[in-house]
Symmetry: C2
Subunit: 259 residues, 2 copies
């Protein structure tokens, strides 16, 4: 039987709030067994860009990672956030190791192909180096990934943290029984967006198609859910969607996705 591995994604809403982050990291440090943390960016990069007078380039409502922006996200995500998260986890006796995808060649990506829009130094993930990630885990360390990857040719790339989490989950599924846990500001996938108690506790592929057809799952949730089912199809055992306290308290409401 394969050992369990929990892969937890935490987003900007927690990263932006020092008390919420400290509380989340306390819970994460206390999680037993093998685990990996993937963290998003939060507002600090936007703030730093503003402080430096660098204007965000937006095309079609999406941010373009130009050279200056890449420097800023590398500084904030891989430096300030990743190292402070790592140091805080060390305080809680979790032997964290902060990583970008360049470190140990753990996550390979390529610069997004230009079709209509050039997103600049945005990375689309190709794969992971499961062997090196296992070296950390078997060495008693807890990998903490920021959303910076590399193209193996010397170029760092700004990459979506949700995609990083699911790619690692899929890539580690050969060796581990992987649970992929997406934390966000809601209690789970909701039938009514304004009612945080309207959590749909279990969704399988069949039910997902119905929820999609009924328009209950729509807009921003769609790509997230597609990403989750794709991970399940590629070998991830379980995907959980819930608020950040789900990692400490499984009595509460959350959404569990299965095939």
């Amino acid at each position: 039987m394969k050992e369990a591995l929990n892969i937890v994604k935490v987003g900007g809403n927690v990263i932006n709030n020092p008390e919420a982050l400290e509380s989340f990291l306390t819970d994460f440090a206390a999680m037993e067994g093998n685990k990996i943390l993937v963290h998003g960016g939060g507002k600090r990069a936007t703030q730093l860009a503003a402080d430096l007078g660098i204007e965000a380039t937006m095309i079609g409502g999406r941010r373009v990672t130009d050279e200056k922006t890449l420097e800023i996200v590398t500084m904030v995500y891989a430096g300030l956030l990743n190292k402070n998260i790592t140091a805080t986890l060390q305080k809680f006796n979790c032997n964290a190791i902060g990583l970008s995808g360049a470190d140990g060649n753990t996550i390979q990506a390529h610069k997004r192909i230009v079709k209509d829009i050039d997103y600049g130094f945005a990375g689309d993930v190709d794969g992971i180096n499961a062997k090196n990630i296992m070296t950390f885990i078997e060495g008693g360390m807890t990998p903490v990934f920021c959303a910076i990857t590399h193209d193996t040719k010397g170029q760092l790339l700004n990459t979506n943290a949700d995609t990083i989490a699911s790619t690692i989950a899929v890539g580690m599924s050969d060796k581990y029984e992987v649970s992929l846990i997406y934390t966000f500001e809601k209690n789970g996938v909701l039938t009514s967006i304004d009612d945080d108690n309207s959590v749909i506790t279990n969704i399988n592929s069949e039910k997902y198609e119905v929820l999609k057809a009924d328009g209950i799952i729509a807009d921003g949730m769609l790509p997230k859910m597609e990403n989750c089912f794709d991970a399940l199809q590629k070998g991830v055992a379980e995907v959980i969607i819930g608020n950040p306290t789900v990692i400490a308290n499984k009595e509460q409401l959350y959404t569990s996705l299965t095939l």
Copy 2:
């Protein structure tokens, strides 16, 4: 017999020059056997502070690491520089892993004790976690350390890169035959500061006392040399001082220190 381990320190003069850095990293990637890189900071942190309108606090000619400055050096050293160096080494097929002292709890330090002057978040190194560093090396990875450490209680600390290099060298000496290689802008320890060919090729403890008494080794070189002899006394096999090309070409002039 113990395996060899080369620990190379590279300073700001190389970091500040993209062509020099690329050339140095080409040579470093080509070095055979076990190796570790420790890099200094360079001018980028000073530039970023200036761009953000943050004035350096100096006391007695030395920089104080206040909270804002710590954020800046964490972003620049552990983020921008460390990740770009790591990605560049990956390009040259060196499986680099960028680290601060918080990562894998590899370097523990304490906030410098306030005697006359409060240097803020400056770290004095206490020790290393040799086991975790060995995990990387035995896993086929090359550790690349920036000059940021932690106090194991959640606080990051700005730390002298020379001291980090010698502390790692000492801490790894039980397991490896360690050569500690300090690269800097001169060809080695010089009898005449203006003549880069006046390299003293071998210095032992006895000769060092004479050179010190004669005033040939003075000023800024003194703490560096004390640091080197301290490392030798604590088990490091060899200390080499030379320009950055010394790692590729041992035909050239350099200074070798032994007890």
